[in-house]
């Protein structure tokens, strides 16, 4: 076939001018403004960024990475996963294992083993802890473990052409099974208490202001990096095929594409992003437990994405900040109403705001221009 005769739309630049300035501003805020406000501005000043806020923002940025990952698979490929909490938790657990080993003999029982193993009267580390004392191996595992789980699961699921709601439900079953598994003490992952009480990372104490800020900046950079990566991805030919699969999978197949590798790749990428988010989350929050794998946690990720706006890349980030900001405010101010709010938000977004906040803003802009 002569493809030269067909004029394909040329892909635009990776970042338009507006997006470029946006990313630059965000970069500046994350790397310079926030650290300065937190470390240099005196604590009694109005401009001081409190440690609590640094922690909160860092946490939300991890969530935003998850929302972005969810957007790639749901917003751009049309596959709703209810199992992203699993990948988030897997990344977190790998990081947690490393942090547990870093405690060394400073635990309550002054043992080489993590406290909960002493408590269970175990004499040596189980096999899956073998690599946990090496930071390099941990970094690799953070990518490999969620990636491998997603790859294997995705391969079988997509090969059998499981789609739509079926896929959502079996990802939920997978996450539920993992939740039960991690709740068991025998799994060697701390049972329902999970890991906590971390002392240091890379030999440096973890609870200092500087370390918190470092993690914050790293999370911010990761988020921005993933954002740019996602922009590149969806604009590429690969990304276009994904969107075609979302809109008309059968037609894509009739055109000679096999959707399996496309779906599998984006699914694995999405899972790895979640895993990295989890790994960044754990040292900042200081705890990881099976609660992250609950059904509710995974569905919430979908809501951040939906609130912000699916199939836009800023949307999920905005959504993660809006919903989690509201959450941390409401659970303190009106603890009873948080679930009502969240529930109504689910309903309202699906009924009236299918494009999310970003879609709403776009609509207003267009309305203003017309």
């Amino acid at each position: 076939m002569n493809t030269a005769a067909i004029s394909l739309p040329t892909p635009g630049p990776l970042l338009t001018r507006g997006a470029f300035s946006g990313v630059m501003v965000a970069l500046l805020v994350v790397c310079a403004v926030a650290p300065a406000l937190n470390l240099l501005v005196p604590a009694d000043s109005v401009f001081h960024l409190s440690d609590y806020l640094v922690g909160l923002l860092g946490k939300i940025m991890c969530y935003a990475i998850c929302a972005l990952a969810m957007d790639l698979i749901w917003g751009y490929t049309g596959i709703l996963s209810l199992g992203h909490g699993l990948f988030f938790a897997l990344g977190g657990y790998v990081m947690g294992m490393y942090l547990m080993r870093q405690i060394g003999r400073d635990g309550n029982y002054q043992s080489d083993l993590p406290d909960f193993m002493v408590f269970l009267d175990w004499k040596e580390l189980p096999w899956h802890w073998a690599l946990s004392d090496s930071f390099i191996a941990t970094l690799l595992l953070i990518v490999l473990v969620p990636g491998l789980v997603a790859f294997v699961f995705g391969y079988f699921a997509f090969r059998s052409r499981i789609k739509g709601v079926y896929f959502s439900i079996i990802t939920q079953a997978l996450t539920f099974a993992a939740l039960l598994l991690f709740f068991r003490n025998e799994t060697g992952m701390g049972g329902n208490n999970g890991f906590t009480d971390f002392k240091r990372i890379l030999g440096m104490p973890i609870a200092t202001q500087e370390m918190r800020m470092t993690l914050f900046v790293m999370t911010g950079l990761t988020l921005l990096g993933f954002y740019v990566f996602a922009r590149w991805l969806v604009a590429s030919k690969f990304g276009r095929v994904l969107q075609a699969i979302r809109d008309a999978e059968s037609r894509v197949m009739f055109c000679g594409y096999n959707p399996l590798p496309y779906k599998l790749t984006i699914w694995t990428i999405s899972a790895v992003m979640c895993g990295i988010a989890g790994a960044l989350y754990v040292p900042q929050v200081g705890i990881i437990n099976p609660g992250e794998m609950s059904t509710a946690a995974s569905i919430e990720i979908a809501v951040w994405t939906a609130v912000g706006g699916r199939a836009t890349l800023v949307g999920p980030i905005v959504g993660a900040f809006l919903v989690n900001g509201a959450k941390s405010w409401l659970t303190v101010a009106f603890p009873e109403f948080w679930l009502y709010f969240l529930g109504v938000l689910f309903i309202a977004v699906t009924l009236w705001m299918p494009q999310g906040v970003v879609g709403l803003v776009k609509k207003f802009k267009k309305g203003g221009q017309a």
């Binding site: 059998s160 739509g164 939920q172 679930l339 529930g343 109504v344 689910f346």
Partner: protein, 528 residues
């Protein structure tokens, strides 16, 4: 010790034949002697059937006996006392000692008192007494009770009570001196499959010297073990079916809303929860206003639970789900939102703690089959109830006009609409029906577990698994999947533990769906 007991037993026999009256010495022994003597005296008095003796024994078990010098007193609640032998009123002094009853004596007293019923005329009481004696003999056979049992057996006796008593006698004779008696006892006990006998038989096998008796004991033990194995298999099957019936109830409503209508209702679990809370409210109402009718509250709770859940379901359909037909992923999120609101709503109304739902009396307790197979009544009732609901739903879908409409709309909405079916209304009805069945499930679940705002969360994954495994659009598939999963789960639990079994089941379903995405039973024809 044994010879002493035998002597005493012989003495008892002699005592039993002669007319007997309580002597002061006996009374004193009974109240303050050494344990063996007390039990011997006790059995002698009980066998003789002496009135005064029995009154004293009863007082002893009630802790109303005091010893004052050589006198044995029976103290009434108001502090007045009578002499146990003469019946004359006595004023108890400060120094009178309480007659202490230890555990061994207490169980002997119970059996002795029970034997009194054996000599009575009431067949029911005889049976109860014989059963009590038999249990005591199986737990800890006491040869000193043999004369009692013999005497009872020689009298007029209800045939069932007689059979029980014969076994009790066999258990007492198992350790007898006479080899022939031992052999007979081993053979008699071997024909029973009571698990309480196992330690007794095993202990005797250890101590046995005669080869014949050993063989009989061995045969008895192995037949007992075989029966126990069968019983435990049956009991696993029963718990499996019971779990299956619960899954079926939880999933049946979903089979309509999801299976037939294609609506992913993540709030299904909360509809179950609402049914359970409705049951709780009805129960509380009956407790306060109609305590005499309390046992019937469940019958009143069924329609209430059905209607409450159906109304909530209809409201959900009218306000939210209606606008999301054809967008299953959005429906999933919106109904999840509804589930959060419902859960929090219940929490605000009734508190976050679990509420207690009492079983009506006819559902508590259990029935014991084959000696060791215990089936709780509430489980049995739920199995029957699940079957009834299943039959009701099947008839409703296949025989009624509403069912016809539902099937029509499911199979081809535009054509059904052209035929004059009000499809929007049918959607509401069908959804309300599915929700109502969830309410019924909640009503049943309230009888076996905790009722709290999180109740539904425990069932939502399971019920989706059942529907997906069974195949969408199929009630029959749902039934097979529910029972299959229940049995599979329980049998796995037997050797892997509850959590691993659950994980294995989930993994099994995930793998199964890969192989057969359409479920066990697929819709024939084109996939919708």
């Amino acid at each position: 010790m044994r010879w002493l007991r035998t002597c005493l037993a012989l003495l008892c026999l002699i005592g039993a034949t002669s007319a007997h009256a309580l002597t002061p010495a006996e009374a004193l022994t009974l109240a303050a002697g050494d344990s063996d003597e007390r039990i011997a005296t006790l059995n002698r008095l009980a066998t003789a059937g002496d009135e005064k003796g029995l009154v004293l024994i009863q007082a002893l078990s009630g802790g109303a006996v005091k010893v004052q010098g050589e006198q044995v007193l029976i103290v009434a609640d108001d502090g007045s006392a009578v002499d146990a032998v003469t019946g004359a009123a006595v004023t108890p002094s400060e120094t009178a000692d309480d007659a202490v009853v230890n555990n061994r004596l207490r169980s002997a007293i119970e059996t002795a008192l029970a034997t009194r019923d054996l000599f009575g005329r009431d067949a029911g009481l005889q049976r109860e007494a014989a059963a009590l004696l038999q249990r005591a003999a199986f737990d800890e056979p006491d040869a000193s009770q043999l004369p009692l049992v013999d005497k009872a057996l020689s009298g007029e006796l209800d045939p069932k009570a007689r059979a029980l008593l014969e076994l009790a006698k066999a258990a007492m004779q198992l350790a007898s001196e006479d080899q022939g008696q031992r052999l007979a006892a081993a053979q008699a006990l071997g024909s029973r499959s009571d698990p309480a006998l196992r330690p007794l038989l095993a202990a005797q096998l250890e101590a046995e010297s005669s080869a014949d008796v050993k063989a009989a004991l061995g045969a008895a033990l192995s037949s007992l073990d075989r029966k126990l194995a069968v019983a435990s298999g049956l009991s696993q099957a029963f718990t499996g079916i019971s779990l299956g019936s619960i899954l079926l109830l939880a999933a049946l409503g979903l089979a309509i809303t999801y299976g037939l209508m294609g609506v992913i209702n993540m709030a299904h679990g909360e509809l179950i929860m609402i049914g359970a809370y409705a049951t709780w409210l009805v129960q509380a109402f009956f407790k306060t206003y109609l305590p005499d009718w309390f046992d019937a509250y469940l019958l009143a709770a069924l329609p209430v639970a059905f209607i409450t859940a159906a109304l909530v379901g209809a409201a959900m359909e009218r306000t939210v789900i209606r606008f999301l037909y054809g967008r299953p992923l959005e429906t999933l999120l919106a109904t999840w939102g509804i589930s959060l609101v419902l859960m929090q709503g219940v929490r605000s109304l009734f508190g976050a703690q679990n509420v207690g739902v009492e079983n009506p009396s006819w559902m508590s307790g259990s029935v014991t089959l084959m000696g060791s197979l215990t089936l709780p009544w509430n489980r049995i009732v739920i199995i029957i109830f699940a079957a009834a609901v299943l039959i009701g739903v099947t008839l409703l879908i296949s025989k009624t006009r509403l069912g016809l409409f539902v099937r029509g709309v499911t199979q081809n909405r535009p054509i059904a609409s052209c035929m004059g079916v009000n499809t929007a209304r049918i959607d509401t009805y069908a959804f309300a029906l599915g929700s109502g069945i969830a309410g019924l499930a909640g009503c049943a679940l309230s009888q076996i577990g905790n009722v709290g705002p999180d109740l539904g969360q425990n069932y939502i994954v399971d019920s989706f698994m059942v529907v997906v495994l069974g195949g969408v659009g199929q009630l029959a598939g749902t039934v097979y999947a529910a029972l299959g999963l229940g049995l599979f789960n329980k049998f796995l639990e037997g050797w892997a533990g509850a959590v691993l079994a659950k994980i294995a089941v989930l993994v099994f379903i995930i793998v199964f769906i890969q192989k057969r995405p359409q479920g066990i039973f697929a819709f024939k024809g084109r996939e919708a």
